[in-house]
Amino acid sequence: MVTVAQRAAGVLESNIWLSLWFMLIALVAIGALVAFLGMGLIYAERKIAARFQCRLGPMRVGPHGILQTVADTIKLLLKEDIIPAQSDKIMHLVAPFLALSATVLILAVVPYSPILQVANPNIGILYVTAISGLSVMGILLGGWSSNNKWSLIGGMRSAAQVISYEISATLAVLVVVMFSGTLSLAGIVQSQQAGWWLWRMHGVGIISFLIFIIASTAEINRTPFDIAEGESELTGGFHTEYSGLRFAFFFLAEFINMFVASAIAVTIFLGGWMPFYIGGFEHFNRVMTIIPPSMWFAGKTAFLIFIFMWFRWTFPRLRVDQLMRLEWKILMPIGFINLIAAAVIVIQKFYFFPE
C-alpha cells in the first residue's frame, strides 16, 4: 500500500507546486483534526465526568449539550485577554502557542490508517519523544512569565515531572522498538500483523504498556499527576494568569496531548489500525476485517482516552515528592529490568507468535 506520505514524497521529487498543495492540505487537515478533537474531547470529558458524578453534564446548548463547547469557545474568544503588568510579555504571549504546537506536531506522524499519515519519518519514535519533551517548555514558560508565585511553582513542578516521566515512557517504548526492529511508527504498526505487541512480547509487553500509560498520564499532566495545575493547591498553577483564548490554548493542548498519548500507545502496543484477530475463529476474523482500519484506530484511541478520563475522575492527586518517588524508585527500575528482560527475549527469539 502506498501511503499519502509516500505519494507526497514521490510528488516532491517531481513537482514542487504539487508538493506545496500537499503541504497545504495536510496543514488544513491537521488543523481540522485539532479543532474537532478539541471540541469532541472536551464534550466527552464533561459528559463522562458527569456520568461518574451522578449528574447530567452540559444539557442546554443543542441536543444533550453538543454545542456547549462551541459556545464556550465563542465566549473565550470574546473574553478580554489580560496580560499581567509585571509579566514577561513576549514569553507570556508565546507560551500557550508553544504548548499547543508541540502537541500538534506529533499529530503529523501518527499513522491513522494504512494510507492516512502526513509524514512517515524513519525515526518516528525519536521524533515523538523529542517533540513531546518540548511541550513542557510552554508550561514552564507560562508559569515563569506570569510573574506569579503560584504559577511559578506550577511550572517548576511540571518541568520536574515531565522530564522525569519521559525516561520511563522512553524505556517502555524502547522495548517495542527492540522487538519490531524499526523506529518508524508505520513500520511498528506493520510489524504487528501477526499480533499486537501488548501480548506478543511475552509479558514484558504488558509491563511496558502499563509503564507507558502511567508515564503518559504524568506527561500530559492529568490527575493523579496534575500537580502542575492542582486547582485546589495552586489555584490553577501555570495558567492562573491566563485568560481568554490563551487559556483556551493551554486547555486545548491538554486535550490534544491526551489524544496524542493514547494514539502513540495504540500505535506501538495495540496494533495501531490493525484489526483484532483471534487465531482459529475464521468468521469472527472476517467480521473484524470489515471494520475499516481508521475506525479501529479511532476506537482503540477512544478506549484509552476513556481510561485517562476514568483515572482523572476517580483518583485524588499525588504529592510532588510522592510523584518523584513513584518515578525514580519504582517505575524507572522496573522499566530498566523490563528492558533487559526484553533484550534477552529478543536475542533468544522467544516470541509468542513467531512470524
Binding site: R55, F315, R317
Partner: protein, 387 residues
Amino acid sequence: MTAAIKTLDELLTSPTETNRSLSTEEYFLNMGPQHPIAHGSLKLVLLMDGETVRKVIPVPGFVHRGIEKMCEHLGYRQIIHLTDRMDYLSALMNNWAVSKTVEKAAGIETNGRIETIRTIMAELQRLQSHVLWWGVLGMDLGAFTAFMYAFRDREIIGEIFEETIGARLTMNYIQPGGLMYDILPDFVSKVKKLIAYLKPIIEEYDTLLSGNVITQERLRNIGILKAEKAIGLGCTGPVLRGSGIPYDLRKLEPYGAYDKVDFDVVIGTKGDCWDRYYVRIEEMRQSLKIIEQLIDNIPEGPHSVAKINYKIVLPEGTYYGQIETARGVLGVFIVSDGKNETPYRMHFRSPSFNNLWTVTQIVPGWRIADLIAIQSSLDLVIPDIDR
C-alpha cells in the same frame, strides 16, 4: 505567661534563618483570601522554602460581621437567627447552644419531645456537615467526584430539613423554650428511609476515597497533632478526638436526649490527618446509630413550652453553656444586667477559631500539598472563625 503580641508587619519582616543549608531563598506566599482552600475568606501568609512551608501566619477577619456586637441589640430569640450565620454547617447546633444557655439561665423547663427532636435534628445536621466535609476533603485532594457524591447525599438530608424547618442552611429552628415548628407526621418514615439509604452510602465513601492508596499516602502520618499540643491549643471536636482524647460533651455532660442513647466516642491513635479523617467517618456511623435509637421513641407533647412572642429577661449575672457541634465545642457566654431583654455582652467560643491555630504548629516542615490536606482535615468554617 503572656506571649508578646506581634503585628503582622513585624512577623513578615523577620524571615527565619533556619535550615538554609542549600542556600535557597525563602519567600512569602499569600494563600488567600481568594484561594480554593480557604473555603470562604481566610488568608494564610506562608513563609516558603521551595515547596516546603516554614511558617504559617493565619490572618482571619475577612468575614467579620460583628455578630457578638449585634447580639447586644437583639432579644434572645432574635439572636438565634444570627447564630445560623456563624457555623452555617451546624446551624441547628448553634441554635441549640444559645437556647440551652438561655433556658438554663431563665429556668425554662423543656419536655422530652423537644429534647428528642432537637437531638435527632442535631445529629442529622452533624451527618450533613460531615458528609459535606468528606466531599470537600476529596476535592482538596484532587478527587472532585467525591465532592459531587457528597453533595448528592447532602441534598437528601437537606430535603428533610426543608420539609420540617422551611430552610436548608440557615435553620433558625431551635429556640429558647422549644422548637419553631413541630415535626410533620411523615418525618419519622422519611428519616428511617434516609438511614436505610445512608448506611450503604458511608461504605461507598470508604470504597471511593478511604481505601484509595493515594488518599492514604496523602493523609497517613501527615500533620501529626500531639495530644498535649491539641489540648494546649484548645482544640475540640474531631480534631482533639483524632489526637486520642475522648472529649465529647455528648458523653461528658449529656444534654438533650444523649443520655438515653448508646453510642461510642470515636478517637484516633496518632493524631495525623488520617485519624481526623477516620474519626469523622466513624462519627457519621455513630450519628446514624443515635438517630436510629431515637426516631421510634419521640415522646408526645407540645413542641414549645414557651408562649409565642414572650420576652426573656435573664436575671443579672453571667451564664455559660456549651454544646458539641460538628466541629467541636461551641461555648456561649452571656452577661445580663437583669434589666433589659438583650444581653449586656455576648461571646461565642467557636470551635473553628481554636482549631485554626493548629496549622501554625503542625504545618511547618510539610509541603504545600500537605498544608492543603491538613487544613482540610481540620474542617474549618471561616465565618465561624471570624463571626
